[in-house]
């Protein structure tokens, strides 16, 4: 408690809102307690999941935060592979956010495993089922989280002044980044492939053989939007000046990719002769239109306008739209648009909410602390270039 208070004191001095900080600590603590209760008492006692709804809020959490964290691999592609040096100032905060995103995906995934004490079974080679996309997903989560640790390691090693270890990891930067990009591509697309098995369960507005491609494209779009979102929020919060031009370029790429996504989505529905479902399915149609309008059409229009791309405000709201659309998409596919096999209804238990909200709070908290104590942001004088 004392240590927390001390750290809090340090933060208050530097100008963070103490109320916000307290709320984050409280939510994270509540999530921790809820998580322990869940692990001890089992899924049936602590969630509203059932045989009708074997998957719920936590799966939505995972399939949302995995593409949210895609900012990390997008920025590492831009800086390390395309060699765009000027993006280096964004790389660390974004990769840190991506790492924390994945870290809490792993935490929530573990919570969601009925037999969590046997999680390591996915790592036993003679148990592997290469036909299973759940297998691919778990491999990718494990390996890519490891890659992200190596990608943020330099910030920690610099702070601890461990020159020897830095010397080992530095020359491998490009290799690590490359492996991360390959794993991410597999991971994002395999999340969509999970649902290829369910043409009779997933509503045809979402089910298509293109699922892996659509999931990957949406992840790339969301990742870049997360870069914009995190950059604007964190540079502002920490009082660092940011060259907006970098984000303007990213927003233009986002608008092009949104166009591609829209064409893929509409083209697929037209080809399948299912375009009529966009209006004929009641609340399911509303859900679909919500996703497409908020997450694709509106940001596509916004980011096509130069004026919007060149203002911090416009950039922020455009990126926020994409992320809201992503949230609707990732709530639909594994839950809302998936036909239940029984008559029950599902609304998450408070423990499910507590774990999800607590994980987000803990993620933000760790981001703020890391940003304070590690060389995450460029030094004020260095970002003038």
């Amino acid at each position: 408690m004392n240590a927390v208070d001390k750290r809090k004191g340090a933060l208050v001095k530097k100008g963070t809102l103490p109320v916000g900080y307290f709320v984050l600590v409280a939510l994270a603590a509540l999530g921790l307690v809820a998580g322990i209760v869940r692990l001890i008492n089992g899924l049936g006692a602590t969630t509203n999941l059932s045989d009708s709804y074997p998957w719920g809020l936590w799966i939505v959490y995972d399939v949302f935060f995995i593409p949210f964290s895609a900012g990390a691999f997008m920025i590492s592609a831009i800086t390390h592979i395309y060699n765009r040096e000027e993006y280096h100032c964004l790389a660390r905060p974004v990769i840190l956010a991506g790492f924390l995103g994945y870290l809490f995906v792993v935490v929530v995934l573990l919570m969601d495993l009925g037999r969590w004490h046997r999680f390591y079974n996915v790592l036993i080679p003679w148990y592997w089922n290469p036909h299973s996309f759940m297998f691919e997903v778990s491999m990718c989560v494990t390996l890519y989280t490891g890659i992200l640790v190596m990608e943020i390691a330099p910030a920690i090693l610099e702070r601890l002044n461990l020159k020897k270890l830095l010397g080992i990891i530095r020359p491998l930067t490009v290799l690590i980044a490359g492996a991360g990009i390959v794993l991410s591509s597999l991971h994002q697309s395999s999340l969509g492939s999970l649902f290829l098995l369910m043409p009779y369960k997933l509503h045809p507005l979402w089910w298509t053989p293109l699922l892996p491609l659509l999931f990957f494209t949406l992840a790339a779009i969301s990742g870049l939007s997360m870069v914009i979102f995190v950059a604007i929020l964190s540079f502002k919060a920490f009082g660092r000046r940011l060259k907006l031009g970098l984000l303007t370029d990213i927003a233009r790429i986002v608008s092009i990719m949104l166009g591609i996504y829209l064409v893929l989505k509409i083209g697929d529905l037209l080809l399948a002769g299912e375009i009529g479902l966009v209006v004929s399915e009641g609340w399911i149609s509303v859900l679909f239109l919500e996703e497409m309008i908020i997450g694709v059409v509106v940001p596509l229009i916004l980011f096509s306008m130069r004026r919007v791309r060149e203002s911090a405000y416009g950039l922020f709201w455009g990126a926020a739209c994409v992320l809201v659309g992503l949230a609707v998409n990732r709530a639909s596919v594994p839950l809302l648009a998936l036909r239940a096999s029984g008559g029950d209804v599902y609304f998450p238990h408070w423990i499910e909410f507590a774990v999800a909200v607590g994980s987000i709070a803990a993620g933000i908290l760790m981001f703020v602390l890391a940003a304070r104590f590690l060389p995450v942001f460029p030094e004020p004088k260095a970002d003038a270039h």
Binding site: N121, H131, G178, L186, S193, L197
Partner: protein, 301 residues
């Protein structure tokens, strides 16, 4: 709509497969499965709804009853971790027809649950029965979500639950016995045997009893075939069984997993390598040019 989707699926499946395979003829991953294991034929016109099968199942597998509020009978409303087979009355609205439906694992020839399981906890035995190996299970519940019939159930009351479902009485099969449910049936509504001979039997029943059956053997072709076969006096969708195409649901997923995943990994890796090489080379050239320019300027001055 279904046909559109199916033809679209075939088209995309074919183009995907074409892209990955080229012109090479390969045995498809979904083809190497037993097609003449054991099976069971349920004749809904013979079933009297006595639920002897249900009780025999519970007795053999040691599953507790799920009584209703009065507590008189075992009265489960749905399949569950403790109820692996269930007789349900199908009485379509606005019609005088009715029939009983026996539900349990269909023991698909191309089981989605087996394809889905990340740790191979579910597998198909040589008999055709789809069975579960508890110690491997991590409780991800992908099998429950993937099954088109909603069969695998979870022990929600347990702190560390297992998946539970009909095993086709694999332990009895191994001892040369037939499953408990078909053995218990007093009216011959359940017949156990080899899959091809049961299909022949079902076809004969349809042929010899005009008007008694809908002219369709459910499970013969659905999803590439199931080990449970059904005959019904009323259309199967009214009986409560989903309308499914002969295309196994595992096919697209397994093709993408087998060929798509390595192709994607390789193409992303080589693309990145290419781009990185090109950019690095260009940068070096630029630096070299600059250096030459500088030298020239130095020489001039």
């Amino acid at each position: 709509m279904t046909i559109d989707r199916r033809s679209f699926l075939k088209l995309s499946g074919a183009s995907l497969a074409g892209a990955f395979l080229g012109t090479k003829q390969t045995t498809p991953v979904w083809a190497a499965r037993a097609h003449n294991g054991v099976a069971m034929l349920y004749d809904a016109t013979k079933c009297i709804g006595c639920r002897a099968c249900q009780n025999a199942c519970k007795e053999w597998n040691g599953n507790p009853p799920e009584p209703d509020s009065i507590g008189l009978h075992d009265a489960p409303r749905e399949l569950s971790a403790d109820t692996w087979t269930l007789i349900q009355l199908a009485k379509p609205e606005g019609s005088n027809e009715w029939a009983f439906l026996k539900r349990q694992c269909m023991h698909c020839l191309h089981p989605a649950c087996v394809s889905a399981c990340p740790v191979s906890a579910l597998h198909q035995t040589e008999y055709g029965a789809v069975v579960y190996e508890p110690k491997r299970c991590i409780g991800c519940r992908y099998c429950m979500v993937a099954c088109p019939f909603g069969i695998p159930k979870f022990e929600w009351d347990e702190p560390l639950p297992y998946i539970r479902k009909c095993t086709f009485c694999i332990d009895r099969l191994e001892e040369g016995l037939e499953p408990a449910c078909s053995e218990a049936c007093p009216v011959g509504a359940l017949t156990f045997g080899k899959r091809d001979s049961l299909i022949a039997e079902a076809e004969a029943r349809i042929r010899n009893n005009p008007g008694r059956y809908v002219n369709h053997i459910y499970g013969k072709e659905e999803l590439g075939g199931t080990s449970m076969l059904y005959l019904s006096p009323i259309p199967f969708e009214k009986l409560g069984l989903p309308t499914l195409s002969p295309e196994p649901v595992t096919r697209l997923s397994e093709v993408v997993a087998t060929y798509g995943t390595p192709s994607l990994a390789l193409s992303v890796a080589s693309f990145l390598g290419g781009v990185y090489y090109w950019f690095t080379k260009r940068e070096k050239e630029l630096q070299a040019k600059e250096a030459i320019g500088q030298e020239e300027r130095e020489v001039e001055s």
